[in-house]
């Protein structure tokens, strides 16, 4: 970095910020001592850096953890609800199938499962005493006839 037209203005800020090697920084300062334009630029930049650095934030801000933990919990909740619903549904299904499997003995009166199937079948077809297996069988028959 020589004197004369070889100005160092773009190196002044890195120099003030301690981003140059000691040798580079000394070369910049040496140039600024002898070059009027760069010397003025150095003084201006130093003053501006001083002003900015004096305006650093010191005030404490809003504590964020209570707000963040609340938002984290609300984000987790839908997944938790979904998992809980799935688990509850699976347990209900397992219970239902276990009941069907265990209840194999013939009984004079219709079992609660048969009653349930009949009620569902009646609801679906709007015809009394229609069970789900009869709907299934008629569907198969219709399918065979159709093909």
């Amino acid at each position: 970095m020589s004197q004369g037209n070889d100005h160092v203005e773009e190196k002044i800020l890195p120099c003030l910020d301690g981003e140059l090697s000691p040798a580079e920084a000394e070369a910049v300062r040496a140039h600024c001592r002898t070059c009027e334009a760069c010397g003025q630029a150095y003084a201006d930049m130093e003053a501006l850096v001083g002003r900015l650095d004096a305006d650093r934030d010191t005030a404490a801000c809003t504590p964020l953890w209570p707000l963040i933990s609340e938002r984290l919990a609300s984000r987790r909740e839908p997944i938790f609800r979904l998992r809980f619903s799935l688990a509850a549904g699976a347990a209900a299904l397992a219970g239902l199938f276990a009941g069907i499997l265990l209840d194999t003995s013939p009984s004079p009166s219709p079992t609660w499962q048969q009653e349930t199937w009949t009620e569902v079948g009646t609801l679906l077809t709007e015809q009394p005493n229609t069970t789900l297996d009869s709907i299934y069988l008629s569907a198969i028959e219709n399918g065979e006839n159709g093909s």
């Binding site: 981003e19 850096v49 801000c61 809003t62």
Partner: protein
Amino acid sequence: MRHEPEQSDDDLMRLTANGDQGAFRLLVERWENPVQNFMARMLGDADDALDLSQESFLRLWSTAGRYRPSGRFRSWLFRIAGNLARSRLRRRRILRWVRLDLAQHDLPAPDLDSERALEREETQAIMRRAISRLPDRQRQAILLRRYQGMSYREVAGALGCSVPAVESLLQRAMVALRRDLEGKVGRP
């Protein structure tokens, strides 16, 4: 799990990545002031700053698994915060354009009663307004360097650019600030 206040950010991030909320809480408490100050200066609006500061930490939580511990936590955190802030500023500009609101109130600094305010406060307010008028990337670079005390390398990490690019951004920002402040604040 018990956490020590002197645990490094990298250690806490490793624990956070494993779902440790205690470690995450320490990180939040350690960095909430710098992040909120940065947001306030980027956005010039306290409500937005608070909202996006929270969002920054929530993003930090959800991306903790992608963080590679290398002592660059601050750059990682401020990259998240900076991206959110710039995105909010873009949205504001679009909304203003849609509403055909041509008033230049991009980043309102708090108004000070100049007659009663101390001279130092006035100067600071003028400086803050000048910073708020800088282009987003230049403003971000200035805030990270001057107010967060980051090295050029850290700023480069936060902005996702090279160190020479940071030098150039800072240089242009300082020149613009000097021009903007000419005649408004006394020469030292």
